[in-house]
């Protein structure tokens, strides 16, 4: 580990980034905060303080949406992280096959998210879709448009298909940085494949996994286009996640006040969870 030098002039190196991001972030954020404590609908711009926040936090629509969102993000992480690690372990390490695998892995990531929803929308239909027809063909009564469980299954499967590659690519990169000597030493120490994974590969993957977990959590918590295109939030509101509820409030009902309040609450939740995760990992790191 390198020792860092104390030097406040380093601010000059960070300045461009700071200006760029602040330009993009702070100003809109201020606007949002502003809206959240005002009553927009009424042109008189009355300062209503925390009333919107109370209303938002007590709204049953939002509460159920939040619950669904947590379940979804939890499921996403539980499936995609181990699967991504597994895929990275199975991938060829060099040669033509490795390059081909990398390109195929990247493909789902490069498709615009609404198109992803579109693909799966047709893919999952029993009459004209490959998967839908196959599942019904082997006797499973599958219809994502009418059955909430099937809708959840499809949305989850779509997300796994779409995003596991991100975790896999990060982990693949991380694994390539382990010097051969470690594997040789483990072989000499008569280590089993599991021991090699647990004591050599997993520790080295820790940093990439932090990035992977945080990115997947953030993006899954804010997911909008894919489930919206696939199920429209249905059947009913069984697959209506937070973003969709928020957008409905803001645009559908033009209730900018509560919408802004809600988006701030939303942001704070993501912030809290990420901060907890981040500090736990760095704390564990420093304890060593």
């Amino acid at each position: 580990m390198n020792v860092k030098i104390q030097n406040n002039k380093a601010w000059f190196l960070v300045l461009p980034v700071l200006l760029l991001v602040a330009f993009s972030a702070v100003i809109p954020l201020m606007t949002v905060v502003n809206y959240s404590v005002q009553d927009i609908f009424d042109q008189s711009r009355v300062f209503v303080g925390t009333e919107w926040y109370r209303e938002v936090l007590n709204d049953p629509r939002l509460q159920s949406s939040l619950l669904r969102q947590f379940i979804f993000s939890g499921a996403v992480l539980l499936i995609e992280i181990p699967l991504g690690i597994l895929v990275a372990l199975m991938m060829p390490t060099k040669g033509r096959m490795a390059s081909v695998c990398l390109v195929v892995l990247a493909m789902p990531l490069l498709i615009p998210w609404s198109v992803v929803g579109t693909i799966w929308q047709i893919f999952g239909r029993a009459d004209i879709g490959l998967m839908g027809a196959f599942l019904n063909g082997i006797g499973i009564d599958y219809n994502y448009a009418s059955n909430p469980m099937d809708a959840w299954f499809t949305v989850l499967l779509m997300d796994v298909w779409h995003w596991t590659s991100l975790v896999a690519l990060l982990c693949y990169s991380g694994l390539r940085s382990i010097p051969d000597a470690y594997y040789q030493a483990a072989n000499i120490d008569q280590a089993s494949a599991w021991a090699i994974f647990r004591y050599i590969q997993l520790p080295k993957l820790q940093s990439v996994l932090v990035i992977g977990v945080l990115l997947r959590f953030m993006d899954s918590f804010m997911i909008y286009a894919e489930p919206f295109v696939l199920t429209g939030g249905g059947p009913g509101n069984s697959t209506t996640f937070l973003s969709q509820t928020l957008t409905k409030m803001a645009i559908g009902q033009f209730d900018l006040g509560p919408a802004a309040a809600f988006s701030l609450v939303y942001f704070l939740i993501v912030l809290l969870v990420s901060w907890l995760f981040f500090t736990t990992i760095t704390h564990l790191d420093n304890k060593k």
Partner: protein, 266 residues
């Protein structure tokens, strides 16, 4: 490579390829066929959808526009993130930890929140419907990610290299460009790919900030959703074409990704 691994990875690749195969098949079919029945191969193989895209300027300009602002974004991101990541990696300074975390938080805000404020902001400075507006707006999330990844990589490079360079009389810019950057080529490759990817697929902001001149392909694709229903074949063809630039990017940086992510934190 043992048999279990080959079987496992082939299974996963199959899983990834099937929907893409489906997409490609749809692009060669007519709408009637897509909506009519399940066929594994187009009954009437047709390039019509692709021809529409290649001959209609308003269609292919969508790709061009997207490419322009994405490339702009990647360049701006790398140029600003590299020095910042270096600072975070090598120096302690007042407020460095909170600043780093604040950067990450910018990726956490739901983009929907920023739509209206961004719209007002960029309109007021006359940058509405320009490529640079989208490129700058995307910096909101691409720069933090770039700084995050690059910093981890840079921390894995020993400071002895820096010190040796100074003793040998290199000026900071000279050292940075001639010595340091080549060492983190892999990081730059990986970061470039992720920046490209996230900017390329981002639709909400890109659509909000543009109208005609800089309209991205994602916005053009909504044209396929018309009064009579969705033009699935055209949408599929457009979708297939969006995958190709990204694949090229991956192919070019494949060696960098394979070279490894030597993150210094562990």
């Amino acid at each position: 490579m043992n048999k279990r691994k080959i079987f496992g990875i082939s299974l996963y690749i199959l899983f990834l390829v099937l929907p893409i195969y489906w997409l490609v098949m749809m692009s060669f079919k007519s709408n009637e066929e897509i909506l009519g029945s399940l066929t594994y191969w187009p009954q009437h193989f047709s390039f019509e959808n692709y021809m529409t895209i290649f001959t209609d300027p308003s269609w292919y300009m969508g790709y061009v526009n997207s490419m322009i602002y994405v490339v702009m974004n990647v360049i701006i991101t790398l140029l600003t993130a590299l020095p910042a990541a270096y600072a975070f990696s090598r120096y302690r300074f007042l407020g460095d930890k909170p600043l780093f975390f604040w950067l990450l938080t910018n990726k956490m805000a739901p983009p929907a929140v920023f739509l209206l404020p961004f719209f007002q902001l960029y309109s007021s400075v006359g940058l509405f419907d320009t490529h640079i507006a989208v490129a700058l707006a995307h910096c909101l999330f691409s720069v933090p990610l770039a700084v995050w990844i690059l910093e981890g990589f840079m921390s894995g490079v020993p400071t002895e290299i820096d010190e040796t360079a100074y003793i040998d009389g290199y000026s900071f810019p000279h050292f940075f460009i001639k010595i340091f950057l080549p060492m983190i080529r892999s990081a730059i490759g990986v970061t470039a790919f992720f920046s490209f990817m996230f900017s390329w697929v981002e639709l909400l902001m890109a659509r909000t900030l543009t109208s005609i001149h800089a309209k991205p392909i994602g916005a053009i694709m909504t044209r396929t959703i018309g009064g009579e229903g969705v033009d699935w074949g055209l949408l599929a063809a457009a979708g297939v074409l969006t995958i190709i630039p990204g694949c090229l990017v991956v192919w070019f940086v494949r060696n960098h990704i394979a070279k490894g992510f030597a993150l210094g934190r562990v």
